[in-house]
């Protein structure tokens, strides 16, 4: 995977093909981010306006309990969601890859939550997790009177209730990505492993997964981006409650921008999110692109 042809004339095509990417990166994402950061130093309300207030928005942000709770929630949700998505997604993909019958059916079943608007599927989860008419009620009906399962209504558990639905919605896509990765692994590798008498689980763990590193990175970015932007799930299921127990940063940003009509505060919050992402991504980019790959 070292560098291919040198950067000379014949690479012109690659440069032409990359024009949309360069424009998008520079004009939209870089330009848009700078615009956002600049306006986070203003007291823009409904409309952006250049009335500078220095760091006021940031002071208010970090003095707001709801923002702190949001960050904590995102951390809990993020770590758990990342681990479970990857594990469940990979195991499902590995099972699907055993030349099973009805692969199309199973794949569609695992993937369908991804296709449905979360406004309503979130409502269904809200029902399922509701103690009065959801799972708890049914299990009590069978005779387990003391069974308690009401994660959305307990401030300490609510974020895990959201995780339930989040995994339900997101693991199908992870499974698909993994499946595509597995299908990209050469059949001969499996044969070779068999010949050497390596058990299947060892082959997965020590040969296949390392070979799928690029797919894992892609998946990791997709999952993490989804986590950072977590919004619909929360709105549809708890609206941030009970109390502010399931508030998340993206929801804070939107609520500030559009409901509170305080663009400056929303931009300050989104700038903080952006900064965190950059702090995590830049070292990764350096590792990924730096070193041996260059040259």
């Amino acid at each position: 995977m070292s560098t291919r042809p040198s950067r000379l004339f014949h690479n012109m095509n690659a440069k032409i093909a990359s024009v949309p990417m360069v424009l998008t990166a520079m004009v939209v994402f870089l330009g848009g981010s700078i615009w956002t950061v600049v306006y986070s130093f203003t007291d823009s309300k409904l409309l952006p306006r250049e009335k500078w207030v220095g760091l006021d928005q940031y002071e208010r942000l970090w003095g707001t309990n709801r923002w702190l709770v949001s960050i904590e929630n995102l951390a809990i949700y993020g770590v758990l969601s990342l681990i479970f998505s990857l594990v469940i997604g990979f195991v499902l993909a590995a099972l699907m890859d055993q030349k099973i019958r009805f692969e199309d059916v199973f794949r569609t079943i695992f993937l369908y939550p991804f296709a449905l608007s979360f406004i309503v599927t979130g409502l269904v989860w809200q029902w399922l997790l509701n103690p009065d008419f959801g799972v708890q009620n049914v299990i009590r009906g069978i005779g387990f009177e003391s069974f308690t399962f009401d994660p959305l209504y307990d401030a300490d558990l609510a974020i895990y209730g959201i995780l339930f639905a989040g995994l339900w919605q997101g693991t199908g896509l992870v499974m698909c990505l993994m499946l595509a990765g597995l299908r990209g692994i050469d059949e001969d590798i499996w044969k070779a492993a068999r010949v050497d008498g390596i058990p299947a689980w060892k082959t997965y763990l020590f040969i296949v997964i390392p070979m799928m590193r690029p797919v894992f990175i892609t998946t990791l970015v997709i999952i993490t981006a989804g986590i950072v932007k977590l919004y619909d799930l929360v709105v549809a299921q708890t609206g941030g409650g009970p109390g502010i127990a399931t508030e998340v940063p993206a929801k804070y940003v939107y609520d500030m921008m559009f409901q509170a009509q305080n663009l400056g505060q929303g931009f300050a919050a989104s700038t903080m999110m952006l900064v965190s992402v950059i702090i995590i991504l830049i070292p990764w980019a350096y590792l990924e692109f730096g070193g041996k790959r260059r040259g």
Binding site: P20, M96, A115, A180, G184, V221
Partner: protein
Amino acid sequence: MADVTTNPAPRIIDGPRGRKPTRALSGRNIMIYGTLIVVALYYLLPLYVMVVTSLKGMPEIRMGNIFAPPVEITFQPWVKAWAEACTGLNCDGLSRGFWNSVQITVPSVFLSIAIASLNGYALANWRFKGANIFFTILIIGAFIPYQVMLYPIVILLREAGLYGSLTGLIIVHTIFGMPILTLLFRNYFSSVPEELFKAARVDGAGFWGIYFRIMLPMSLPIFVVAMILQVTGIWNDFLFGVVYTRPENYPMTVQLNNIVNSVQGVKEYNVNMAATLLTGLVPLIIYFISGKLFVRGIAAGAVKG
């Protein structure tokens, strides 16, 4: 890795990935299908609730037993969701925006995948100086919540004279699909065996030749994943569709939103469920049929050839 690919195992044997075992009820099969079925049930539970609810009348729903099958099955909610639900004055349900959604989704999916796959290809195989800097910015872009970019994009489109046009919307979808898709393709292409690329170069194939004759046919599964991502995202998009186009181009999700998202009014849960399921049908069909492209072995064959 190169060693393994270039030294294929000498004989074919049945392994975990071998041919389907003839015995249907082997312990291994029971484990695999057992697990898949149990997990599938967890996935299907909410769907069951949705379907059952969509077939009930409102009085039955008010009784609150979400698991009970409908006492009296009614398809009226489905009819209403598709053809009768009112969006303000226009009482023709989801059917109103269906073709608009198709007109938005098809070109957006095509354009975004075409551009992103070329980006990924250039980044993986024809890297030029500075490419990774743009790529890193792009990846950071994947983490920015869409809503934050709403107003800057309004300004950009206004200045470009594209505000309110279908073209503008297609460009917006292409832009926001680009980070993830480019990453997807770049990482997939970079795992394609290098020998293939070198051989093609020796044969005199250029940038476009290698893309169309080698990369594209070898990467069908990842194109499927990209298509799944984009069809789902764009078909279900509501915000961009409604902010960046005019009412005559509004996608189906505007009607869906209007049906399910009313704040101060009576909520018809059965119609909400039916509308959601109807809207989800198109991506679901794509998921189901696209499975045919989840194939293996083209890569292996190509190496040997």
